[in-house]
Subunit: 250 residues, 2 copies
DNA sequence: CCAAAAGTGTTATTTATACACCCATGA
DNA sequence: TCATGGGTGTATAAATAACACTTTTGG
């Protein structure tokens, strides 16, 4: 099990971090996985981490993601670097210490550690799309909790983490059709309505049902299966599956 | 005058650099500004630099750009981070030293310097578009020359700098319509043909004249001025100018 | 038979692409 | 009057958006 609470002891690249916007989907709602820190003061912060010397940045992002979600082979993508000059943890950490002075007697926040972590940081933003059902959110030792929050109703987060989510979402919208990553959010089989609701929660707007179906089917990546009888008093919808065979005939 | 040849002495963020793809346009040709290093062995490398502790990354990129081109207020934009694990100068620098051992007796490449610069680096890629006529390329002490090279006919460059140019160009193509105004690489006034030739050199393909004009005018960012009499034996083309008023009627 | 939700077809509207023609200019 | 390059209009095709109608299902 990896620990992250003594970064200054690790062989990390200094002053460079990775912040992850982990997007998940459930009950027609798009959510972000956000840990709450185990300190007084209600601090939320995006899952983040550092980069080992012998580790690629994508690799590091994947490791951070796996540590928090337990799943491997996640699609993720960098979307921007955040590196303004005044970008530092110091203001947030000072407030944290102010509120938690009593319980900080241990070695966790010794001087060296504090200096390391409060320096100005440049952070690479990554976003990922995961299936909430496959995820078992995992706290680190610094977390009080880690939960999914609706993307349009996030808790107050430290530093520029709100802007990061906003920026990640915009990038996702731009790339959605090209990258087909949206299908990572859906279960093995799904109905067209589910795809549409997913799109609608990502774009935060409605689409016309028939045109949407046409558009998605024209992407030529879905395979139609049998119908799904739900017991509801209406026509049974078809189930679809993402076909991952290479090239497919028209 | 700033110097860059003793990075380890400076208060830079370590292991983090900026590489700039400076695109310029002249005579219907898109070119990249590439310095050649003042060492035996024909090494070309994109203009790059490091980030001061009290400097934002955009600010650093702008400084690096100004150092090389002499012009301020350049529009530039990050396009990707390059941070694979094996990304280091060491292979290139070892070869450089092998070829230049005799002239490297001075302090420039002492041990400390070598260690600093040969560590694994993560680099933020920035691209900019500039008007070649406004640029006076400036060598640093490490450069033998600095010149414009056609973007489709670049010299061999070190490390992953070719990939950087490729990636920058792709990003530019995606954003060109939106950013057209931001890149001041057309003169104050210009003809539609000039705009088209600019587009054609960026996309490396031809556009239909009339359709192109319609598309550009539909962007609603140009203002038509008087005609331009060139003395050529043909109809005089209109001149255009970017209109910088805020909102404009349809 | 009804309401609910799904499926499908048809028509506009917009956008992109292709083709054709006319106009101004200086030699 | 001719070649050259610029401006404009129209036809066609493709992609989007809008509208309308039918079908299945359980109560």
């Amino acid at each position: 099990m990896r620990d992250i609470h003594s970064p200054s002891e690790q062989n990390y690249i200094q002053q460079l971090s990775i912040d992850c916007v982990i997007l998940g989907y459930q009950d027609s709602q798009l959510s972000v996985l956000v840990p709450k820190l185990n300190f007084r003061g209600d601090f939320w912060a995006l899952p983040s981490g550092f980069i080992y010397q012998n580790e690629g940045i994508d690799q590091a992002a994947r490791r951070i993601l796996e540590d928090r979600t337990g799943i491997k082979d996640i699609y993720l993508e960098q979307f921007r670097v955040f590196g303004d000059a005044p970008r530092s943890n110091i203001r947030f950490l000072e407030r944290l210490i102010e509120l938690n002075g009593d319980k900080l007697g241990d070695k966790r926040f010794d001087r060296k550690e504090f200096d390391w972590i409060t320096r100005r940081f440049v952070s690479i933003g990554y976003y990922a799309l995961v299936d909430i059902n496959k995820v078992v959110p995992r706290k680190t030792e610094l977390d009080e909790s880690i939960d999914w929050y609706p993307v349009r109703d996030l808790p107050p987060m430290i530093m520029d983490h709100h802007e990061m989510v906003k920026c990640a979402l915009k990038t996702l919208q731009l790339n959605l059709d090209q990258k087909l990553i949206a299908f990572n959010l859906l279960p093995e089989t799904f109905t067209m309505r589910e795809v549409q609701e997913l799109y609608e929660s990502i774009f935060d707007r409605a689409f016309a049902r028939n045109n949407f179906q046409k558009k998605i089917l024209d992407l030529n990546v879905l395979e139609r299966l049998e119908k799904k009888f739900t017991g509801a008093a209406n026509k049974a919808p078809f189930l679809y599956r993402f076909r991952n065979e290479g090239t497919q005939a028209g």
